[in-house]
């Protein structure tokens, strides 16, 4: 699977340049657009982190998950409970949410080792369906707030920033906060994927038995993929909770998990940038669908969904890859498909 590595190396100067431009735009945006748009973009970043997590598991490692909404929920609740009950500052809850989800994901990944394809789909689907009743359960009510959920306070920009003469409102601050974390997580993800670990994950996805024969400890790698994936999504959940300022069992239904799956497929499996495209899709397309039809917004959304898959079966990222290599006149890089 050295192909992938080469693929990444081959990126060359144009995409690097594009990435830098994109980054610059991302930094300037909050001063150009309204607070409300800034808030929406914050959500896009949050979803992008969650999708990146799911993509590590499903896109790169070939393990399907219909239950990542559950890890998102755990991250959100860990942050909300720590802020609400322990009075912890919001930024301190992020790493804790990440670690908790890492552990939960790893532990869930252990039995999941024995499950593949449909069976893993069922197990993760079950996880997603189980999350709301667990959050509501009366023996956890003291901490989770039961059916009522938890309302949390929106963080203000820190005092040192104002002291340094930088004036930001709460929305702008949160955006930069999330952007910074997203950048770190994307860089870490890129290193992970393009390194030895990434190659092992991809080898396991493409041929499990062969990878094992090559001496890759598939058990460790697969559970690790689960753990890291859950950690990403959990951090996203924590950030999402802080942005929305509210958690409730109703926020984390099975549809959230399905939305995530839709996001990585539409964005592009096994692609880092795909997470961003997917996030834009799941954030904005439902709004467009609603604008087009009040009578049956879901029908419009479904048509969009199917149309996207028809036009770009390997996701937006895959389509862009094809487009780019055509421009260059080079050989088509065959985007690899992820088979669960």
């Amino acid at each position: 699977m050295s192909n992938e590595k080469q693929g990444l190396r081959k990126i060359g100067t144009v995409p690097v340049f594009l990435t830098l431009v994109l980054l610059l735009v991302a930094c300037v945006l909050p001063f150009v657009v309204s607070n409300y748009r800034t808030f929406q973009l914050t959500l896009v970043l949050v979803y992008a982190i969650a999708l990146l997590g799911l993509n590590i598991l499903t896109g790169y490692n070939g393990q399907i998950s219909l239950g990542h909404g559950a890890f998102y929920a755990i991250g959100a609740y860990v942050a909300a409970m720590l802020m609400d009950q322990a009075g912890m500052p919001y930024w301190a809850t992020i790493p804790i949410a990440g670690v908790v989800c890492l552990v939960v994901g790893f532990l869930f990944g252990l039995p999941a080792l024995r499950l593949e394809g449909l069976y893993l789909a069922l197990a993760t689907f079950a996880l997603a369906v189980s999350m709301p009743p667990i959050l509501k359960a009366h023996f956890l009510e003291k901490w989770t707030g039961g059916v009522q959920g938890i309302v949390i306070v929106k963080p203000d920009p820190p005092a040192w920033l104002a002291a340094a003469g930088v004036k930001l409102n709460a929305d702008q601050w949160l955006y930069y906060f999330v952007l910074a974390i997203a950048l770190v997580l994307f860089v870490v993800g890129w290193n992970l994927i393009s390194g030895r670990i990434g190659r092992a994950l991809i080898a396991i996805r493409d041929h499990h038995t062969a990878a094992e024969a090559m001496g890759i400890n598939t058990a460790i790698y697969k559970s690790l993929a689960f753990g890291v994936s859950a950690m990403y999504t959990g951090i996203a959940g924590a950030l999402g909770a802080i942005a929305v300022q509210f958690v409730a069992p109703d926020s984390f239904t099975v549809f959230l998990s399905i939305t995530f799956l839709v996001g990585i497929v539409v964005g592009g499996l096994a692609s880092l940038s795909g997470a961003l495209y997917g996030a834009l899709f799941i954030q904005f397309v439902p709004n467009i669908a609603d604008e087009l039809s009040k009578a049956a917004p879901w029908a419009v959304f479904g048509v969009f969904l199917i149309a996207f898959v028809y036009l770009m079966p390997t996701g937006v990222a895959g389509a862009l890859r094809v487009l780019l290599s055509r421009r260059r006149g080079g050989k088509l890089l065959q985007p690899k498909e992820a088979v669960p």
Binding site: T58, I64, P111, R114, L115, L118, Y119, A121, L122, A123, F125, A126, V129, S130, P133, I134, K136, A137, H138, H207, T209, A210, A213, V254, I258, L261, V262, I264, V265, V266, L269, A295, A296, P297, W298, A299, F301, G302, V303, L305, I306, V309, Y310, P313, T314, E337, A338, V339, P340
Partner: protein, 288 residues
């Protein structure tokens, strides 16, 4: 003791609901090796067609047969028009198309028929009822078993059924022996839709007809199908009944209603860890 018996019988009744949709899932799996997440919504939509026919004055059984036929045609059409273009796309892309179908059917049903619940007639005579089960519950169970028997015969003994199985298991070789694989897939979709329509018409009198009728049931059916063995129709029925009874007993006597589903799912996944092919499924062997 009577309380236990009551819960078991009620569990069998709900279990037969899961079983009937699980059968449709197994059908589509037999034909395509995929699990169609839109199967429940297709069944729901077919049930609305039946409801409209009955409301237009048609007798129950003619409406029943006509609906099964319409569902079959719609299933074939969906395969030809919606699924065929993504034939060679990654599996997950196909799954997303299923999700697209699910939301479209759900939304359009709500738009056309509104979201208020509708009662759906039951064709079974009162004489069918036994002490603790209503006539419809007994009838639905019998119909599920009948469909199972028909499917068994179809796949075991008819050339068409055998060809369909062959096409799903080994498309390349099947093509070589002259089976039209593409049409076999379409037929599989049609049959699954027809079985789903029967499931919908058996379920609706119990849970009432509304656009979200099947949303909750899909998970149970999925679990039942895997528990029984995804390539075994008989297993799907047994799996459905087991899930129904298990859930009722857990809710009533063990863990309480709040967490009965969670515990039931943990148990099912636990069984699958030990026996990945389910009760009756065939063991999959993969080659390097």
């Amino acid at each position: 003791m009577e309380a236990v018996l009551l819960q078991v019988l009620a569990g069998l009744a709900t279990g037969s609901i899961y079983a009937s949709l699980a059968l449709a899932l197994v059908m589509i799996y037999q034909a395509t090796h995929l699990v169609n997440f839109a199967q429940g919504e297709m069944a729901m939509f077919a049930t609305y067609i039946a409801w409209s026919l009955v409301n237009a004055g048609m007798g129950y059984w003619p409406a029943f047969l006509l609906t099964v036929l319409i569902a079959f045609v719609l299933g074939v059409l969906i395969e030809r028009v919606v699924i065929r273009p993504v034939e060679n796309a990654p599996v997950l892309a196909v799954v997303v198309v299923f999700i697209g179908l699910l939301v479209i059917l759900n939304s359009i049903a709500g738009w056309i028929f509104s979201y208020t619940i509708k009662s759906f007639p039951s064709p079974f005579p009162a004489a069918l009822g036994i002490r603790y089960m209503s006539p419809h519950q007994v009838g639905a169970l019998l119909v599920t078993l009948l469909v199972l028997a028909l499917l068994y015969v179809f796949f075991r003994f008819t050339p068409l059924g055998l060809a369909m199985r062959a096409a799903a298991q080994n498309p390349v070789s099947s093509r070589l022996v002259g089976i039209r694989v593409g049409w076999m897939l379409a037929l599989g979709w049609g049959l699954a839709a027809a079985v789903g329509a029967i499931a919908g018409m058996m379920v609706a009198p119990i849970v009432y007809l509304d656009p979200n009728m099947m949303a909750g049931i899909l998970l149970y059916a999925f679990a039942a199908a895997l528990l029984g063995g995804i390539d075994s129709p008989g297993g799907a029925v047994v799996g459905g009944l087991v899930v129904g009874v298990l859930e009722n007993l857990l809710g009533a006597f063990v863990i309480g209603n709040e967490l009965k589903l969670v515990v039931a799912l943990v148990l099912i996944v636990g069984v699958l860890l030990v026996r990945p092919s389910g009760f009756f499924g065939s063991v999959q062997v993969s080659r390097v």
